[in-house]
Structure formats: structure tokens, C-alpha cells
Symmetry: C2
Subunit: 169 residues, 2 copies
């Protein structure tokens, strides 16, 4: 659990340092088409922390007989983020994540708990261990994505170097 929490608790700070105060050219643009900007991704992370990860973990550990997870809405941020600045979203994510870390610690998850299971709408039976590992990889995935989306804003500006920069392909 220690190795999981040490990642989860730093994600909001990493994102604040990476994004807060940047010119909107870096944070409002996406990779083209239906892809997401950094701004969109922060809204998605907030929605996950509000409705998904910890809620599912608590369901697995609860006395409920019914362990079926609610499907996750991957597009909720387009409604929820409306009218908010990026700074507001970054602060909101920090707040909900900090609260979730406190809740997560208070669950005092044991090795035995990690093997307990819930039912995922697509995959069927999954363990608490798999859920928590996925939460972390999901964070890292979106940090990686945000850096890539930002890099792509300079796709033309780098000129011939594009050949050495796999991230732009």
C-alpha cells in the first residue's frame, strides 16, 4: 500500500507545478479532433476521484452483497468543468485527492483485503489490488499524456528535429 499511496498523493502537486500559470496555448489545445487538452484531463481526474476509484474500493470492502461497480463516465468533465478556470480545477483535484488519501489510509487495507473482489462492468471479477494498481497507472498515464499533448503544440516549431522526437509522431 505504501508504494501506491506515495504516487497517488503527489499527482496533484506534480500537475499544479506542470500547469499552473502557463499560457493557455499550452493547456487549452489538444492533439486534434476529439482528443483532450490538459484542461480536459484535469476534469477527468477530478471525476474519477469523485465517483470511481475510492467508491469502488469501498464497495469491495463493504458488507454489501452486491459488488457491481457503476460504469465510469469518461466524458463527464465536459459538463462538470464548464466555467471553471484551470487553476480552479487543479485546486479542486488537489482537494478531492487529499481527502481521498485520508479515506484510503483510514481503510487500513491489509494483504488479505487486497485479494477481495468486485465486479467490473466490462471485465467481471477484479481484485482490490488490481483496482488500486490501476488507479496509480491511470494517474501516470494522464501525466504522460499531458506532457505529450503539450509537446505536440511545437510539432512544426522543432523543424527537422521531429525525426528524433518520437513523442511528436
Amino acid at each position: 500500500m505504501h508504494q501506491s499511496i506515495e504516487i497517488l498523493e503527489r499527482t496533484p502537486i506534480v500537475l499544479q507545478n506542470l500547469l499552473e500559470g502557463l499560457s493557455p496555448e499550452w493547456t487549452s489545445n489538444n492533439e486534434g479532433g476529439e482528443t483532450w487538452s490538459a484542461y480536459d484531463v484535469i476534469g477527468h481526474l477530478i471525476h474519477g476521484d469523485k465517483t470511481d476509484w475510492l467508491t469502488r474500493a469501498e464497495l469491495i470492502l463493504s458488507y454489501n452483497v452486491e459488488k457491481k461497480f457503476q460504469p465510469f463516465d469518461r466524458f463527464a468533465q465536459f459538463e462538470n468543468s464548464k466555467g471553471k478556470t484551470l487553476k480552479q480545477l487543479l485546486d479542486e483535484f488537489k482537494e478531492i485527492r487529499d481527502a481521498n488519501i485520508i479515506r484510503l489510509r483510514s481503510l487500513k487495507i491489509t494483504e488479505q483485503d487486497l485479494e477481495k473482489t468486485g465486479v467490473h462492468p466490462t471485465f467481471g471479477v477484479v481484485t482490490l489490488s488490481q483496482l488500486l494498481s490501476t488507479w496509480i497507472v491511470h494517474d501516470l498515464n494522464h501525466i504522460s499524456q499531458i506532457a505529450r499533448v503539450m509537446a505536440k503544440q511545437y510539432k512544426i516549431e522543432v523543424g527537422p528535429w521531429i525525426e528524433f522526437l518520437k513523442i511528436l509522431k
Copy 2:
């Protein structure tokens, strides 16, 4: 220039927040084979800031007639990082980058300067503008890479979710 410096100056802080104090399982492991760990990447970034980006920019802006860049050693970190802790490398990167930002600002680069050129060992003639844009994309590329390398440490742990996590493929 403003949009470039605002990225360059925050990279060391983002990396300190992402990596400092983490368990070595996250920072010393790579993606397998000859790939790089987070630790290796920080050494690579230090070497670039010591010998490459700003040195090339200064050469372009200098009165030298000979504008040929020195080739960059992409493996120097395996020698230079020896015996150093990750914390030492992160601090060293912060120090050299902060110094480079001061030097970069002191160059007072104009729009006209951005069109000045140097000679890259592979690409031939490149502009100062392309060089500086590449410096930024290079930072973002390695932030993205580090998040990916860390994510891959949980490739098995996520179980069936691997299907939804493109970063693990």
C-alpha cells in the same frame, strides 16, 4: 520566448515533485532491455543542460564563423551519474537549469535572433527558434517517458485493466 521559458523553468520542480523520496522500485527500474529508468533520464537531462542546448544557442548567437554543433552524447549519464543518489541528480539538474535560465534571459533574444542559424551534425542548417523549441519538447518528452516507465512497473498488477491502459502496451 516567454512561452518557452515558462516550460523550461518548471521542469526541474515537476521532476522533483514526481520523483523525490519515491521507493527505488519506481525510479531505478526501466522498461526492459537497454531502456532507461527515471534515474537514467535525469542524468541525461543534466548532460544536455551542461553541454548541449544553451551551448548551441550561444554558438548561434556568437561571432564565431564556425557554427557547427558538437554531437551530443546520449549515453554520457551512465558514466556521469555513477555513485550519485537520485536526490543528488534532481538537485544538480535544478541547479544547472536555474543557471541556464538566467543565461538564456541574459541573451535577450530578439525575433530576428530566432532566425539565426547553426549547423547540426545530422540535419545541417537549423534555426535558433527550432533549437529552443526542441529543448522544450525534449523536456516534455522525458517527463512523459518517466511517467510511462513508472506506469510499466505495474503492468501485471493492473490485471485485466491493461486493456484500457494504452500506456502499458
